[in-house]
Structures are given as C-alpha cells and as structure tokens.
Amino acid sequence: MVRQVALNTHISGKFNTELENLRNSVLTMGGEVELQLVDTLKAIQQNNAGLAEKVILNDLKINNMEMQIDEECLRIIAKRHPTASDLRLVMMVSKAITDIERMGDEIERIARLVTKNKLPASETIKSSMLLIGERVVQMMRGTFDALARQDENSALEVYDQDNRIDAEYKKLLKYTTEEMQKSTDDMQDWLEVLWALRSLERIGDRCKNICEYVVYLSRGTDVRHAPLENIQQKLKHLS
C-alpha cells in the first residue's frame, strides 16, 4: 500500500517542524551537490580551474551538512522515539545523506581533473564525458524531486535511467582504453580520466540507492539489490 508520509499532522507541532526541517535539510543538501556537479561540468567545458577549485572547497560544506543532519536524526530518534512512517523517514534521511555525501566526494574527484590539468586531450572523450555528466545531472534532479514528493513512480522512472548511463559509460570506457593503448606514455593521466568517468557512473548508482529509499519510505518494502522488473513485480504484488 502506497502511503504519503504527511509530516504536518502530528499532535505535537514541534515534532511536525522537526520532521519538516529534516526533510528540507536533505533536499537542500541534495540541491547543493547537484549544483556542484553542474559547476564541475562547466569547469570541464571551460577548462576553468578557479571554478573547479571552488567545487573542491565547497565539498567541506557538504561534509558538514551530512554531520549535522546525522546528528539531528540521532536526536529525533533519542527524543521522539519515531515509529512507522516517521521512523522510515528518519532512517531514509540518515541513509540518503551518506549517499549524497559520497556523490560530493565523486564530484570532487572529477573537479580535480581540471585543477590538476589532467583533462583528456581527446575532444570525443571530453564531449562524451560531458554528455554522461548531463544525464547524471538529470538523474540527480529526478531523484531529489521524487524524494521531495515521495513519489514512488517517479523514483522508479529515475531508477531506470541508470541503465542508459551505465551503457554509455561502458561504451566510453572501451573507447578510452583503446585510446590509452595508442599512447601509453601518459598512463597516469589516463588513469585519472578513467577514475573520473567511474566517478560519474557511481553518482548514478548513488541516485539509484536514494530512489530505493523513496520506495521504502512510501511502501515500507526493501527493494535493494533487485533488478527493476523484480521491483515492479514486487510492488504490483503488494498493491
């Protein structure tokens, strides 16, 4: 049974506010990370080391947000003893922020390509990298949107986008390794590019995790580690 978690219907107004703030804070953190990726892609496109540096410094802010939100989750569990959908919300937030923080770390790694001046010389690789980056931004946007609206269907649509990102990543990885074999002198630089590509793909996986938490929030069903078809079948069976 799908059930929207209404945060503002508790008898305790203070508890309503605490849960609203918790949800808003995770969305703010998500928004920050999304902006970080947008800036990183811009920095790659413009070869703008200053902007990339800003992204790297900004990651500290995201780390700090994670710690604050985690502390707030702990405080709510200790003082409010949440149950049912409230408990699922707190647990979901606590897990989602770990994924969001890791997204921040992956973005930082990509931004370092620019500050270390290790951007791929090949325009094909660079433009494909930017294309995958754009898709990942869209996926992040969809993920946080589904989270804000607690929309299980949107979450599953976003979940599916990861397959396309994975396919494009594999294609680009193959092309990049072929290019690597042509010029083996600058192997260290190539490895940096490969790591950055891997980071982009990992952000997609993190988005997928958050989409699974959205389903958990609305259904109370753990759908992790299952292919999309199985998840859909499982949810259909529960309806």
Binding site: T9, H10, I11, T83, S85, L87, R88
Partner: protein, 268 residues
Amino acid sequence: MLKLFEHETLDVQNLSEEETAIRVEKLNLQFGQKHVLHNISMRIPKNRITSLIGQSGCGKSTLISCFNRMNDLAPDCRYDGSIFIGGRDINRRKENVSQLRTQVGMVFQRPNPFPMSIYDNVCYGLRLQGIRVRRYLDDAVEQSLKDAALWEEVKDRLFESAHILSGGQQQRLVIARALALKPDILLLDEPTSALDPLTTLFIEELMASLKKRCTIVIVTHNMQQAARVSDYTAFLHQGKLIEYADSDTLFTMPEHKQTEDYITGRYG
C-alpha cells in the same frame, strides 16, 4: 542465506489450538446502553507477551477484564460471544469464576497490597484455597518472591507490613501474590503507570522472564513500553479491534491508517 537477526513471529491470525492461550470469538460487551466492545475475535498466543493499546475509553481494560470475568462485578454489564481458555468457554454460565481467577491472575495500575504482612500477602490466595501446611506455604512464598525478583529485598522482613515497601516493590509483591497460585495467564492492566522509569524497567524485565512459565497480556498507554516488551500488539479503537500483529510489524509498518495515526501521534 546467513540470517543475522532472529525475530520469531507467529501468524496470530492463524494460530493452532496448541499455540493459543486465549481464543476470543465474536465478543460483544455492553455497560447498560453503552456498547463497549464490538465483535472482537482474536487468538492470544501461549507464553508470549501481548499488548493491548489504544486511546482512553477504547475498551482495552474492559477486554482484558473479560479474560477473568472481572466485568461480572459491574451490575449493568452484558456480553455475548465466547472466550476459550484451556479448551473451555469461560463465558458459559456454569463457569467456576473463583477457579478461573486462580488460573488467570490480574495485576492493576496501582499496587494494592492487603493490610497484612508481606508473607501473608503472598500466601493469601493459597490459604483461600485451604492450604495450611506451613512448609508448603513457606516454599511457595519464597519461590513466588524469587520469581517476582523481590526475594533478596524482603527475605529478612517477611513478617513486616507490606505497606513499608516502595511503589515498585509493592507492585512486584502483587505480582508475586498472583504467581503464588501458579496462573497460566497473567493480566496486567497498566502495571507500571504509577511507577518511575527505572522501576518500570525492572517490571518489564520481570515480564520477559515470566513469559517462559505463563502467558502475559498487558494493557498499556505507553507505546514505547508495548514496543519494548510485547511480542504481539493489538490496537483497539472505539471498542473495535483495528489491527493485531507482531509488534515488529505493527510499530514499523502498520497496515491500517488508524493504527499509524495512533502510534505516530497524529490527528485521528
């Protein structure tokens, strides 16, 4: 697959006769014109702790009182439906109520020791049954006080008045008094609501150890307590049984919106 956490659950909707301590069938109860319990059917599992939760006036204390016919004391009480304990319907006219109450003990919100010594309190029920053998009574008092985790605190002052004991000790004394009769079922109607949090934890720990030897049914307003101590929880609302499931499920993913609203403290 490796199982890291074991949480035993029984399907309370489909318990076998062997697993059932109390079987309630289509129980309706009225006080005068007021219909208090509506068509309740449920099976309470043996050697487990089952909590009844719900708002004040929802009928949970009335329901628990049906299990040892305490409602018979109210002159305007009428009921129909069946309650099977040990294979017999205790609602039948010829039920021996005194015998039933030795089999189904009850402890109330406020500790109610009798104005007599600790020793006499514990063996009060046994004496009523005609047992006078001193040796037997001594053993029963010691064992019951040990089972109620009170023996070490009172063994040197058994013949002093029960009223010198603290609230928590008095409540454990009352539990010992019920245990002396070796009940199959122990009914606890808000047993810790008048006690401090630490004493409450002692009583909860006591319940956990007692369930090995008897079935416990508890009425509580404290949802954390229900979640902590009980294996199964039933939620009642306006005299109706809304949801009855294992406590893990009921407190994490309740099926009914009314249950969810109640346990999360939302407007109904």
